[in-house]
């Protein structure tokens, strides 16, 4: 499996990478860990005449915790997220989700930036970032701008990032409350049949805040706002969970593929969301 030929570049700063993107236009792509792009290139489903490797750009690396605000450089790997003790305490759902991505070798290469920027509905970080209300930072030839994770995804592999922009970082506030990322997959290394990210806050027996996002159940990640609202003010008991699942079902739009027919995916989505709500509530 040999990809089509390409020119390789390894710029050592962001300006260099942006200049190459500008110069080669549609014929150029940036590569981070490459574990989504390289398989597509090997299958010749993606042809990239000019491949711009971001590995030497230090500004894209590093995990920063500034009070309650967390910033992940685009080149931070899943392995680095898992190993970071501060993140495990401040935002445990991030580690919980990262551990369910692929396998150890893939997590050593795969980056948060690649995961969110690629636009593959199967990626886990986009839904999680919508659940967290994260902000994506992109830089283009003229200026940098911020795009909310909840506004970023337009269709499969289509995002609000322009072709001449590079996603440089992801930032979000450490959330209050109980959190859980639950994922059903056929085997290690598979994308989700269904996955749910849930963050709940509670006072006594009442849910005071809820954010719910679903993965791989539409051509984009789905932040199911109404499903969260169905839990607020309730005790997150059986009736409330059923109401949230019903609201979530209105928001998703799964299609049949080798992970199963639509009815099975909807069934699995309900089970996984109930599990994530129960887990998050027990931790809230």
């Amino acid at each position: 499996m040999i990809p089509a030929a390409f020119e390789y570049y390894r710029p050592d700063d962001l300006q260099g990478a942006l200049a190459l993107l500008h110069e080669h236009g549609d014929e150029a792509r940036v590569v981070a860990g490459g574990h989504s792009l390289i398989p597509m290139m090997k299958l010749r489903m993606a042809e990239v005449p000019h491949l711009i490797d971001l590995q030497a750009i230090d500004a894209l690396r590093g995990i920063t915790v500034d009070g309650n605000r967390i910033t992940l450089g685009a080149m931070v790997t899943q392995e680095e997220i898992i190993a970071h003790e501060g993140l495990a305490t401040l935002v445990p759902i991030l580690r919980e989700a990262a551990l369910q991505i692929a396998d150890p070798q893939v997590r050593a290469m795969g980056t948060v930036g690649g995961n969110v920027a690629n636009g593959d509905p199967g990626n886990d970080m986009p839904g999680l970032m919508q659940c967290l209300g994260a902000t994506f930072h992109v830089t283009g030839p003229d200026a940098a701008r911020e795009i909310e994770a909840r506004d970023f995804y337009e269709a499969a592999y289509m995002t609000a990032r322009e072709d001449d922009e590079i996603l440089t970082a992801v930032s979000f506030d450490a959330p209050n409350g109980g959190q859980s990322y639950q994922k059903q997959k056929r085997k290690i290394g598979d994308y989700a049949t269904a996955a749910a990210a849930v963050i709940l806050t509670r006072e006594g027996e009442h849910c005071t805040g809820a954010s719910i996002a679903m993965t791989n159940l539409s051509d984009v990640p789905v932040w199911a706002e109404a499903a969260g609202e169905a839990l607020i003010g309730t005790d997150c008991g059986e009736d409330a969970v059923i109401a949230a699942i019903n609201a979530m079902q209105e928001a998703i739009d799964p299609t049949e593929d080798n992970r199963g027919p639509v009815a099975f995916k909807r069934h699995t989505a309900g089970i996984i969301l109930a599990r994530a709500i129960a887990r998050a509530w027990s931790r809230a």
Binding site: G34, I38, P104, A108
Partner: protein, 164 residues
């Protein structure tokens, strides 16, 4: 065909300079340019882990990295872990505990396990299974592979204690 580029790889302590097209996969450079045939080509789709090597002290699948990306990297393959006369404790444990049958997955298994034990020198059985989840074996059913990794961990830890 694109222009070949000069690539420097430090493999098992030896520096190699070679010419390769950027699109050449690292596994092909290792096997075909350098004759290092320990890492195997199994699925070629980043699932099976037969091509696992260490790159800059991380376990990676060399079928999903371009040689160009590895330019300048420190690489360890199964050939760098032990020799026939002086086996690595993992190699000894795989032999002792029958951790292989056909042997095709074994170089990747052992190379991955070596890094796992560096990161977690005293893993539980569950941690071994989770840490080795990126390596597939179609023969053993994994039982003896897990036994071998646990035995090697114990062996390495005992040797470390004895040395102190």
């Amino acid at each position: 065909m694109s222009k070949k580029m000069q690539i420097t790889l430090n493999v098992n302590g030896t520096r190699h300079e070679l010419l390769a097209e950027p699109r050449t996969l690292l596994i092909h450079v290792l096997r075909e340019n350098l004759g290092i045939t320990g890492p195997h080509i199994g699925c070629e789709t980043s699932h099976c882990g037969a091509c696992t090597i260490l790159m800059n002290e991380r376990s990676i699948k060399s079928c999903t990295v371009f040689a160009a990306q590895a330019d300048g990297a420190e690489i360890t393959t199964i050939e760098g872990l032990g020799t026939p006369d002086s086996l690595h404790p993992l190699q000894e444990a795989f032999r002792e505990h029958h951790g292989l049958q056909c042997g095709f997955c074994t170089p990747g298994m052992i190379t991955r396990a070596a890094q796992l034990l560096k990161e977690n020198p005293d893993p539980t059985e569950e941690e071994v299974r989770f840490g080795m989840a990126g390596n597939l074996c179609r023969c053993t059913g994994y039982q003896n592979i897990v036994k071998a990794v646990l035995a090697a961990a114990s062996e390495i830890n005992t040797a470390k204690e004895a040395a102190q």
